[in-house]
Each structure stands twice: as structure tokens, then as C-alpha cells.
């Protein structure tokens, strides 16, 4: 049995440059530098905690589970949308400072916290719940193939990494955005759901799927590996030809 070798990792100093904004004291956002001693296996979230806990308690961000399932800590790290808890320091170029800023296209509340209300509003508008009028005594049956049809889009954790990476959303806050479409997809392609027509109708709106310019930013940003652009394309197809 080969033992796993855990390489001995040296600690090193990393510079984080964080976009700060405190509405109670600042008129506009500013960049602030912090040097922290980190290990390569640490995550960007660990670095933010280290700053908050040892240097500046006022640094403000959301986080909860710290392993990529609760969706609280989406932020822009070196210009890319990622979850701070899933981004390892060693996977970044540490010879340069790490830039951390709030996700774009949503109003900044304080430091890395944004107002998610517009994002949730778009999600709510697509009727994100199963509509089925039958009253089964037991479970509804669904074949493994039918279940697989919408598997990918059930993974969404509503972190907003996709929507806030979308250039269309940056310029047009009315656009539903990828996350809302992903959640519509999850129901449109669920064989048990009876409300596909309504959802397709909602997304056929001028602020719906047709605003998508397939830049694939959303797919690259998704921390859950959802093929977001593909899901949007499937919704477009369903509007044109019905769900298949």
C-alpha cells in the first residue's frame, strides 16, 4: 500500500488587494492592501478570514459552509467570478497580488457584500417550483432517463457567480440572467412538471433568453460545473420547437 505523501508546504506572504466600501463612512469604493501569511492549500476565504480576524475586523463578506455548497461567498477574484471557499491560493499566481472585489452588476452594500434582491427577483419570476395537478398517493414515477434530463440544473446554489459574470446583465439589469434561466430549465425539462409553457413564455420576453449572447462567461463562472450556456440554448430550442 503506497502511503500518500503530503508534501511539506512552506508558508509564504500573499498580498490581497480588496475593494472596500463602507456606506457609513466612504463616498466611494477604494482598494486596500493586506499582507497575510498563508499556505498554498489555504483558500481565498481563509485569507479573508485571516485579515478579518487578525488585522481588520471591519472587513465584511458573506460566508457560511466554506466548502462550496451554500453559495454565500461568490466574489471576483483576479477578475474572475469564483467562490472564495473553493479557490485555493496555490491555484492563483501568488507572485502578484490577489485582487478581490464584489461581484458586478448588483449594488454594493458594504465591502464584498452586494444587494442580491434583483438577482432573487429574477429567480422568483420564473416560478421556481414544481406545478403538478395530479394527487398521487405515492411517489410520481420518473424514469432514470427523464430524471437525467434535468440533473445538471438541479445543482444550482443561487450564488450569482453566473449572472454577475454576464456582460448582458452588467449593462441591462432587467435581463433575467443565467441563474434564473438555469432554474427555469430545471423545471421545464422535469417530466413531472405541467408549467413549461408558462415558463417558456416568460423567458420568450425581450429580457428573456434571447438577450443571451453565448459568451460562455456563465459556464466558466459556475462553481458547480453546470453547463449554463447549454441550458440556456436548450431553453431557446424549447421556445422554438417545444421541449423535447
Amino acid at each position: 500500500m503506497a502511503e500518500l505523501s503530503v508534501p511539506t508546504i512552506e508558508s509564504f506572504t500573499v498580498t490581497l488587494i480588496v475593494r472596500r466600501f463602507d456606506p457609513e463612512n466612504d463616498t466611494e469604493p477604494k482598494w486596500e492592501d493586506f499582507d497575510v501569511e498563508m499556505y498554498g492549500t489555504d483558500r481565498v476565504l481563509d485569507a479573508l478570514h485571516k485579515i478579518k480576524w487578525e488585522q481588520d475586523g471591519s472587513l465584511t463578506f458573506r460566508r457560511s459552509c466554506a466548502h462550496g455548497v451554500c453559495g454565500s461567498d461568490a466574489m471576483r477574484i483576479n477578475g474572475r467570478n469564483r467562490l472564495a471557499c473553493k479557490t485555493l491560493i496555490k491555484d492563483l499566481d501568488i507572485s502578484k497580488p490577489i485582487y478581490v472585489e464584489p461581484i458586478k452588476g448588483l449594488p454594493v452594500e458594504k465591502d464584498l457584500i452586494v444587494d442580491m434582491t434583483p438577482f432573487y427577483k429574477a429567480y422568483l419570476e420564473i416560478n421556481p417550483f414544481l406545478v403538478a395537478t395530479d394527487k398521487p398517493k405515492k411517489e410520481r414515477l420518473q424514469s432514470p432517463e427523464d430524471r437525467a434530463r434535468y440533473d445538471d440544473t438541479t445543482k444550482c446554489i443561487l450564488c450569482a457567480a453566473c449572472t454577475s459574470s454576464c456582460p448582458v446583465f452588467w449593462t441591462d439589469g432587467q435581463y433575467f440572467g443565467p441563474a434564473a434561466i438555469v432554474n427555469a430549465h430545471r423545471f421545464i425539462f422535469d417530466s413531472r412538471d405541467e408549467n413549461a409553457e408558462l415558463r417558456l413564455d416568460i423567458l420568450n420576453d425581450k429580457e428573456g433568453v434571447w438577450r443571451c449572447r453565448t459568451t460562455f462567461n456563465c459556464t466558466e463562472a459556475c462553481p458547480r460545473g453546470i453547463e449554463v450556456t447549454k441550458a440556456i440554448a436548450e431553453v431557446k430550442q424549447a421556445i422554438l420547437r417545444g421541449r423535447a
Binding site: L4, S5, E24, E139, R140
Partner: protein, 592 residues
């Protein structure tokens, strides 16, 4: 919708028939059951889908018998035996009986369970769940890949949205207002603004989750600081069975991130540094699928006896390399990605370093089978309910079986919803005392302006380190006394804390300080209960009392807060004991 009854400069008042504190699985299941005929509100520290139910992976137990013979009586027996006979058997019976409907409810709400070839809900094996009273593992866990908790949380939230449930998100409840021993409402702090809100309600349900952050190595979220449990305790409600804290066997080594028991349910094997499948020595019949307390202890023992792996020989290995990559991708996609992301290990070809991680509180706020909170062994506090991890019914006894917690939140969350509505329909609102928010306002003012010498993060770190060192898998009178002394020292130092953020908006510096106060209370209760239970049972292993002692300790512990120092504990806590409800199963030796 919420009715605002009055308002002055800083405080907003709200009035509800049923108010639910916490928007995880139990809270939202309660909300769905409570419905919208009455005024129902949900107050949550987090946006609902951020709750830690979403981190649950492996499944939800129910004897559907979709893939092989099974029945609820076997499930009840397994739950009782798994809990080392400290389970209240009337409650376990309800849990097992109502499990089938609980799963059907979720499927009907839209939950995307994995399916059998004929389209039914698929089921898989899990630790401690057996056919016919221990003969062999049984397929009882209903699952959605290894993100069952995520799918439950999403599905419940979706249905709350569908029903128009009224949420107050990122509102942090800091106090339970009692008037003459009866609950009048809660006081909350709005994170975005720093404003105070007073919620009065006829029925109040606590569904605030666990407190894994008393430990350093934990699968729990940063936000799991036991707020609801500590608030209840501060208001005179006893806490039950706090010595029983579950350490999940397979946390990612060094990090504590959970790798589901489903990995072993699907055939994964634990090995020590010489490659031996060591569980064969500890549980010859069901081996790697023994209950969590036994597996965690076996792992810790392997490491202690020098058979651990890695440079410090401080972990063992979870071996999935014999499984088909396609099976891993279909059934365990998330956890294998955790291994890749955080340890750089490829589970197709490499074994994953694992070690037990603090995972789940079996104890908590005492309730009966109607989810009503008790003020002693059997006195109901009318209008106050608790469900989920914050509560102790007790269906988990001394050790919870995997998949029984997602079940617990659904069965007892639903019951809390049901009975709280029934009560609110005829109850008269307990009057909200004048100045109900004064205590919270004073607490916040004190913390916000705190300019002492102690750093919150440092105190929390010391707390978590002493709990890991002294009150983890192995415990003795000596280690527990050391932990107690340390916690008491930290409580003193907590009086001298400092925070840097004096602002009102999203003051998470303040939030962490208040959370630490709750953690200190709960750590102290835990250590006291650990010390006073001088036997070994389930998750509680006393190296100085290694046997289970049914003669003296076949009872639940109940820790009460007192004004004065108690002689028997040396603290301001009193310990009492409560009989276990036994219906069909007399305690037997626990072998697997």
C-alpha cells in the same frame, strides 16, 4: 402578510400567529405545514438556501421497500440500537412510521430523487440500517446523488415561494421574550441596517440548527453557533443530552469537510496505513457500515495505536479505487470533487485521507413528540416548539444514524408546523412586556463599543482547540476538567473583548462576537454534561468509565442554568436526569 402593530425610532414591531426562527430544513418544513391560513413568518440569520441542511449529502431514511424488503419496525429498532438505547422509543417509532409519508411529501413537492429502473425512488445502504434487526445492511436511504440535503433545502424553499411564505432574511434572533414563564415573542437584529425588530407571536418554533463551531475540526458551517439553543438556555430552558455530540468518521483530513457515509454505502472501504480493512476487527458483520460512533472510535484508535497514514500518521484512508468511475460520477460526484479540490487527491485512483470531524448534536432543547418545548422532564411550555438539530426529542439518543437527521427535520418539522398552528388558532397572544428589546439593545451596545484587550478570533480559537483536545472522541474526568477550566477562563476574558467595526450596516464583527458568547455557553454545558455522565454510551466515550452503565445512566441528562453556583457541578449549572421512554426494546449489548 406581516402586520406592523406599532413602531418607534429604532424598533419595528411585528405580529404573527406562528413565527419560525430558522430557515433550514426543519424551519421551512414547519412553514409549509403551517401554511398561509394564519399569519406565518420565518426569521433567518441567512438567506434560506444558505442553511446547512444544504450540506447534507447521503440521503434520508424511509422503509419504502422500493428495492428490497424493509419495514418501519426494523427502522425503529435500528434507530434505538444505533442510539445505544438512549433513544425515546415512542419518538423513534413516530420517526420511522412517518418517514414514508415524509419522503412522498418531498417527492410530490418536486424533489428530484434518484430513480430505480422502474421509476420509483431509489434507495441505498447506510451505516447502522439493517434488515431484520441486524442481520445485514439494508437499502433504506432515499437519495439525490450526494446532494440530498441540497435538494431538500431547494425543494422546501421552492415550495415556500410557491405558497408565499413571509421571510425575514438576514435577521438574527438574539432573544426569546418570556412573560411570566410564557413565550411572547423574539427580538431580532437586522444585519443590513442594525435595526431592532420585535416579533410577537402566539406560537414560536425554534429551528436554528446545531453548534459544531464549539469544535475546531468540524463539518459545520461558520454560522452554526447554536444561537437558538443558547438563547433558550439563557431563558431558563434546560438542555438535554448535551454530552452526545457526533463525530462523523469521514471528514477530509485536516479540514473536517464532510465526505458522506454514502461513499461506504456504495462500497467504499476504510483502510489503515498497512492497507488493512480494519473495520472487520471492530464490527465483523456490517464492517464499514457500522454506526458512526463505532467507526469514528475505531479510526481514532487506529491512529492512536500508530496505524495511521501520512507524515504525522494522523489519519486513515477512504478507499473508493475499486468502484467504477461511472458509479462514482453518478452517485458521489460532489464528495469526490471535494477530495480533488481541497486535497488534490484523485479518488478514482488514490485513497482519500480522512479523520473524524465534529458533525451533529444529538442533544439540544428538550421537546416531546408534538415538538413542544419542555421546561423540565415533562412540563410543556405552551406555544413554544423546537425541531431539527437544535431540538432533542430524542430520536437519536446517544448516537444518530446517518440519514435519520434529514428524516428528523422533515418529520418533526412537519409536526412542529401542525401543532403550532393548532395551538395558535385558539391561543391568546401572551402580552409583550414593555421594553422587551432592552436586553438585546444593551447587549449590542456593549459589544459594539467593546474596547477591551481580547480578540474574538483568538478566544474562539482557544475554545475550539480545548474542545478538540479534551472533549472529542475520547474523554476523561481529567480532560473534561481541563476543558471546563479553560472555558471558564475564556468566559472571563470574553468580558474584556474588543471589536473594530462600530458601524450599523452588516456588522459581522459584532455578529461574530455575539456568536462567540453563545458558543461559550454551549461548550460549558457540553463539558458539564460530559463530566457528569460517568459511563460510556454511543458517541460519549469515557476512558475512565469504559462500560455502559444502564443501572445508573439509562437516563437523559438535563442541564439547567441557575443563578447561584451549584455544589455538584461547581458552576452556575445544575444537572438533572430524565427517564428514557422504553416501549418494545430492552437494552442489549450493542454488537454489529
Amino acid at each position: 402578510m406581516a402586520e406592523k402593530v406599532a413602531s418607534d425610532d429604532n424598533i419595528t414591531y411585528h405580529s404573527f400567529d406562528v413565527l419560525i426562527v430558522g430557515a433550514g430544513g426543519a424551519g421551512m418544513r414547519a412553514a409549509i405545514e403551517a401554511g398561509t391560513d394564519l399569519n406565518v413568518g420565518v426569521v433567518s440569520k441567512l438567506f434560506p438556501t444558505r442553511s446547512h441542511t444544504g450540506a447534507a449529502q447521503g440521503g434520508m431514511a424511509a422503509a419504502l421497500a422500493n428495492v428490497e424488503e424493509d419495514n418501519w419496525e426494523w427502522h425503529t429498532f435500528d434507530t434505538v440500537k444505533g442510539g445505544d438505547y438512549l433513544v425515546d422509543q415512542d419518538a423513534a417509532e413516530i420517526l420511522a412510521k412517518e418517514s414514508v409519508q415524509a419522503v412522498i411529501d418531498l417527492e410530490n413537492m418536486g424533489l428530484p430523487f434518484n430513480r430505480t429502473p422502474d421509476g420509483k425512488i431509489d434507495q441505498r445502504r447506510f451505516g447502522g440500517h439493517t434488515r431484520d434487526h441486524g442481520k445485514a445492511p439494508v437499502r433504506r436511504s432515499c437519495y439525490a446523488a450526494d446532494r440530498t440535503g441540497h435538494m431538500i433545502l431547494q425543494t422546501l424553499y421552492q415550495n415556500c415561494v410557491k405558497m408565499g411564505i413571509n421571510f425575514f432574511n438576514e435577521f438574527y434572533v438574539l432573544d426569546l421574550v418570556m412573560n411570566d414563564g410564557k413565550p411572547a415573542g423574539v427580538v431580532a437584529y437586522e444585519l443590513a441596517t442594525g435595526d431592532i425588530h420585535v416579533f410577537q407571536a402566539k406560537s414560536i418554533i425554534f429551528a436554528t440548527g446545531g453548534f459544531g463551531k464549539i469544535y475546531k475540526t468540524t463539518s459545520n458551517a461558520h454560522t452554526l453557533t447554536g444561537d437558538g439553543v443558547a438563547i433558550a438556555f439563557r431563558r431558563g430552558i434546560p438542555l438535554e443530552d448535551m454530552e452526545f455530540y457526533q463525530f462523523h468518521p469521514t471528514g477530509l483530513a485536516g479540514l473536517g469537510i464532510l465526505l458522506s457515509e454514502a461513499a461506504r454505502g456504495e462500497g467504499g472501504i476504510l483502510r489503515n496505513s498497512s492497507g488493512e480493512r480494519f473495520m472487520e476487527r471492530y464490527a465483523p458483520t456490517i464492517k464499514d457500515l457500522a454506526p458512526r460512533d463505532m467507526v469514528a472510535r475505531a479510526m481514532a484508535n487506529e491512529v492512536r495505536e500508530g496505524r495511521g497514514g501520512g507524515p504525522n500518521k494522523d489519519y486513515v484512508f477512504l478507499d473508493l479505487t475499486h468502484l467504477e468511475p461511472a458509479v462514482i460520477d453518478a452517485k458521489l460526484p460532489d464528495i469526490t470533487e471535494f477530495a480533488r479540490t481541497y486535497l488534490g487527491v484523485e479518488p478514482y485512483t488514490e485513497q482519500i485521507p480522512v479523520f473524524p470531524t465534529a458533525h451533529y448534536a444529538m442533544g439540544g432543547i428538550p421537546t416531546n413528540i408534538k415538538a413542544e418545548v419542555l421546561s423540565d422532564n415533562d412540563t410543556v411550555i405552551p406555544g413554544l416548539y423546537a425541531a431539527g438539530e437544535c431540538a432533542c426529542v430524542s430520536v437519536h439518543g446517544a448516537n444518530r444514524l446517518g440519514t435519520n437527521s434529514l428524516l428528523d427535520i422533515n418529520v418533526f418539522g412537519k409536526r412542529a408546523g401542525q401543532y403550532s398552528v393548532e395551538y395558535a388558532k385558539t391561543a391568546i397572544q401572551v402580552p409583550m412586556p414593555e421594553n422587551a428589546a432592552d436586553d438585546v439593545i444593551a447587549m449590542i451596545a456593549k459589544v459594539r463599543m467593546a474596547k477591551g484587550k481580547e480578540k474574538i478570533a483568538q478566544l474562539r480559537k482557544e475554545l475550539q482547540e480545548t474542545m478538540d483536545k479534551n472533549a472529542q472522541v475520547f474523554r476523561t474526568e481529567e480532560t473534561l476538567n481541563e476543558a471546563l477550566e479553560k472555558v471558564q477562563e475564556l468566559r472571563k476574558r470574553y468580558e474584556n473583548i474588543s471589536i473594530q467595526d462600530q458601524g450599523k450596516r452588516f456588522n459581522t464583527d459584532l455578529l461574530e462576537a455575539i456568536e462567540l458568547g453563545f458558543l461559550l455557553d454551549l461548550a460549558e454545558v457540553t463539558v458539564i454534561a460530559c463530566r457528569e455522565r460517568r459511563e460510556s454510551r454511543g458517541a460519549h466515550l469515557r476512558e475512565d468509565y469504559t462500560e455502559r452503565d444502564d443501572k445508573n445512566f439509562m437516563v437523559h441528562s438535563m442541564v439547567y442554568k441557575q443563578e447561584k453556583i451549584e455544589k455538584n457541578t461547581g458552576t452556575n449549572m445544575r444537572i438533572g436526569w430524565k427517564p428514557v421512554v422504553v416501549t418494545n426494546y430492552q437494552p442489549m449489548e450493542r454488537k454489529y
